[in-house]
Amino acid sequence: MAAWQIAMIIMIGYLVIALVIGVLAGRNQDKSSLDEFAVAGGKLGLFVMWFLMGGAVFSAFSFLGAPGWAYSKGAPALYILTYTAFAILPWYIIGPKIGKIGRKYSIYTVSGFLKKRYNSRVLPILIGLIAVLASIQYLATQMKGMAYIFNIMTEGRIPFWLGALVSYGIVVVYVATGGLRAAAWSDVFQGLLMIIISWVVGLAIVNQLHNSVSGMFTDLVAAKPGFLEIGNQGSAMSPTAYTTTILVSVIGFLMWPHLFSKSYASNARTIKKTVLVYPVFALFLIPLLFVGFAAANVVDASLIGSPDEILPYLITAVLSLPGWVYGLVGAGALAAAMSSADAITHSASLEFTDGVIKNMKTNLTNKTTLLLMRIGVFVIGGLAYFITVFGGQGLIALLLGAYGSIVQFAPGVYGALYSRRITGPAVIIGLVVGTFVNYYFQLVAASTPFDIHAGILGLISNIVLVVVISSFTQPKSMQMADEYRKIG
């Protein structure tokens, strides 16, 4: 049997298992419960929660982008390890608090959280819209990854549109039927698979190309001095850019609705224990970076279309690996992409229903809300699919702008948690201006002042405005501001 046939059988086998686990997990749960669909009844255990959070971070980017960064940029790729390890840490403090507030006022989204505290209908609509656009961008990236992997591992026999349709179609089906619980349990399977595959395949590649890890680095430092340093001669990134990229990722991480809302899905103890074991996930990324470093002085950049193709290129073109390795890497990359896609599709649908629809049309019953959320899963999935397959430059710019704007939720969220002085109008204006500044420097301006990340520039203007405007406006409900601050 040809390598591509074995690879295809393994990947299809993986997809079938993922579908079965997802659908089974949602079985025997109350199908008519909004609470069950949105936050799994608030009762997810440690094991599942850990993989749910980890699966969300281990995305198509980890399998394709991380080796690509290491291959093309060198040391700047270390930012991925740093931010993965640190971004989760504030959750230990804020997660239990958000969870308690959520259970007290029956909240299950970011928009709902800010709406209650700032007593505004404009704010949740803004948050819902930004969240959906950003999620679609995120999903499109995952889907491109899935389709690409299918395509290259079967040596071009599965076309782009079909690979994306099959793998993401499965995600949509299990999320729409089983909600958060289905996403969580399929993430356990997907998480285990990608961790094992990344270590086995990563180290196998390093050993085939350079005999050992230290041999690889010795070769690399000799061939490309400065490649493993930042800002020095031969480096691909300045110190300011490196630092602000880490900061924006660390601050923005928990603002992503699919991560923020997990605070509602579990009790304080589970959240704390999840944070406790989480930095281990950062270490699982190491072999994938090593793959990129291993190729840096071996593969010429002109041979591949973009740096993201380095891992598949190594497997199919450089190394003579058997077909089952194709299949395993394919399955691992699919697992990584799907375990992010499920959580994001789920939360995008929740944010849109709760943030946008519910605030435009205020008299919805829980039953209708739940139905809208299930339909939303298909609508958002469909949109992301069409954008992935057909593209469209203007649209892509809009989505990229939204993607970079998630971090702008931070002042509103931290203001709600720790201050009684911060007011709704201040947060709205800060959010709008911060988003605009980020958008301008990310997509319009050719460069940023001092090489600072566009998101940080947006965040600085955002924070200044929030503080200044709050000082001469009054919170609508002092009682709610006090409640939020005191809980937890």
């Binding site: 040391a75 270390l78 390890l81 740093t82 390890a85 640190f86 840490l89 230990y92 403090i93 308690k100 259970r103 050992s212 890890v213 230290s214 680095f217 010795t218 690399l220 430092v221 001095p225 400065g226 490649f227 493993l228 340093e229 930042i230 800002g231 020095n232 110190p239 300011t240 490196y242 630092t243 880490i246 900061l247 660390v250 009790n267 304080a268 103890r269 704390k272 224990k273 944070v275 406790l276 930095p279 281990v280 950062a282 270490l283 190491i286």
Partner: protein
């Protein structure tokens, strides 16, 4: 230990390793040589501080005054 005090200690003790991994303090680790356990110094520096961070969180958890709190629904 009170909850407030715990939160302060938690934040401070974890900001330190983060600061060591971003500039200006990352300059301390920003070099290819010497190699340690087969890794270039910059790579080793990042991985080592992540492991230290993991250990700090473990210690923090054991000190947490309300790690066993039962929530009143």
């Amino acid at each position: 230990m009170s909850k407030k005090k715990f939160t302060t200690i938690y934040c401070l003790s974890l900001v330190i390793p983060l600061l060591l991994l971003i500039f200006p303090l990352f300059s301390l680790g920003n070099r290819s040589t010497p190699f340690i356990v087969g890794l270039p110094f910059s790579v080793f520096w990042v991985i080592a501080w992540i492991i230290v961070t993991f250990l700090i969180v473990l210690v923090m958890y054991s000190l947490d005054p309300d790690k066993d709190e039962e929530e009143v629904q």
